[in-house]
């Protein structure tokens, strides 16, 4: 539920990072926060456990500048990835305008990626949103750098087949830790979300 404030000429857009636990959603936001912190007033908010796992959400707000005379305020959220935290995940997805799906490229995570995408579909359906009907989503295949360290990772073809064969969403090979394609992912997600809002309101 984007908020368009005609008086302040302001649009607030909510983009949520979703994916299996320990896949790098928070790391994406931390990298972005490091990149934009010199030009935003807010801090990144994290509600995490003592073990540094996201318990509720991370939150990073920043201004995008103006589009057609409207100030666009983007709000990035992550959700906890662990299966057991579905209630909080559903809560954070309320009012979502766009999603970045952070898939973990490690071979051992293959089933968890698929289960996480299925869970996203169900949670969006709870809010009458259809993941497979023009919903703005970007896929990020994270941890590609692990191949260099000899960790078995899934091929892009396998990830595409598993997660994106029906969605046909744009995808990025990324490493959230080094920042590779982190900014490209968020830029694409913001563009798709804003375009989808324009389509919705015109």
């Amino acid at each position: 539920m984007a908020v368009i404030n005609i008086r302040k000429k302001e649009v607030q857009v909510k983009i949520v990072y979703v994916g299996p636990g320990r896949g790098g959603k928070t790391t994406n936001l931390e990298y972005l926060f490091g990149a934009v912190r010199h030009r935003i007033q807010s801090d990144m908010v994290s509600i995490k456990t003592h073990g540094d796992r996201t318990l509720f959400f991370d939150f990073l707000p920043f201004d995008l500048g103006q589009i057609q005379g409207y100030m666009v305020k983007t709000q990035l959220y992550t959700v906890p990835g662990q299966v057991k935290y579905n209630a909080t995940r559903k809560l954070v997805l309320k009012g979502v305008d766009g999603v970045v799906f952070v898939a973990d490229s490690m071979e051992v995570m293959r089933d968890k990626n698929i289960a996480s995408l299925e869970n996203l579909k169900e949670n969006l359906a709870f809010y009458d949103l259809d993941l497979y009907n023009k919903f703005p989503i970007v896929m990020q295949y994270n941890k590609r750098d692990l191949a260099e360290q000899g960790v078995p990772i899934l091929t892009i073809e396998t990830l595409e087949q598993d997660l994106n064969s029906k969605l046909k969403a744009p995808y990025f090979e990324a490493s959230a830790l080094s920042g590779h394609n982190v900014i490209a992912t968020v830029k694409k997600a913001i563009t798709m979300t804003v375009v989808s809002l324009q389509d919705h309101f015109t």
Binding site: M1, A2, V3, I4, N5, I6, R7, K8, Q12, K14, Q41, S42, D43, V45, I47, F56, F57, F59, P61, K73, Q75, Y77, A87, T88, L91, V92, K94, G95, V96, D128, H200, F201
Partner: protein
């Protein structure tokens, strides 16, 4: 579900927030939706709170408390109050989708504030009735 609030509605909401609440001596008033978006915010010019983070956390907090309410067989808890040493926060639900957050010091009586919050909510609810849903 998306909303468009027009100039007249936003003016009306801000007028209610200013006259009924800010004029009591509150420090900050924020009207948000349950997704954590800010619809209106006013402050006394002396506080510089990060209202966007506050809104996201308030919506999350309210959602978490509603989940607790469901466990004990309640639909929700329509108001929440957090007391600090010098600053206090009061949350109150407006219709099904919005939340009124007020921040105030110990010089404001909680009972009187709750009375005024109730009055403001019925006025704001009337304004929202004409909101265009898209």
């Amino acid at each position: 579900m998306s909303y468009i609030l027009d100039q007249e509605q936003l003016d009306g909401i801000e007028e209610v927030l200013q006259k009924d609440l800010m004029d009591l001596g509150l420090k900050c008033v924020i009207l948000i939706d349950m997704a954590g978006n800010i619809i209106a915010n006013l402050d006394n010019g002396q506080v510089g709170h990060d209202v966007y983070s506050l809104a996201a956390l308030a919506a999350g907090n309210f959602g978490a408390v509603c989940a607790m309410a469901a466990i004990i067989g309640e639909d929700d808890f329509a108001l929440l109050f957090h007391k600090g040493k010098n600053e206090n926060i009061h949350f109150s639900k407006v219709l099904d989708d919005f939340l009124l957050v007020t921040i105030f010091g110990n010089d404001v009586s909680l009972g009187y504030l709750r009375l005024k919050v109730d009055e403001s909510i019925s006025k704001i609810s009337k304004i929202f009735e004409t909101t265009k849903k898209v």
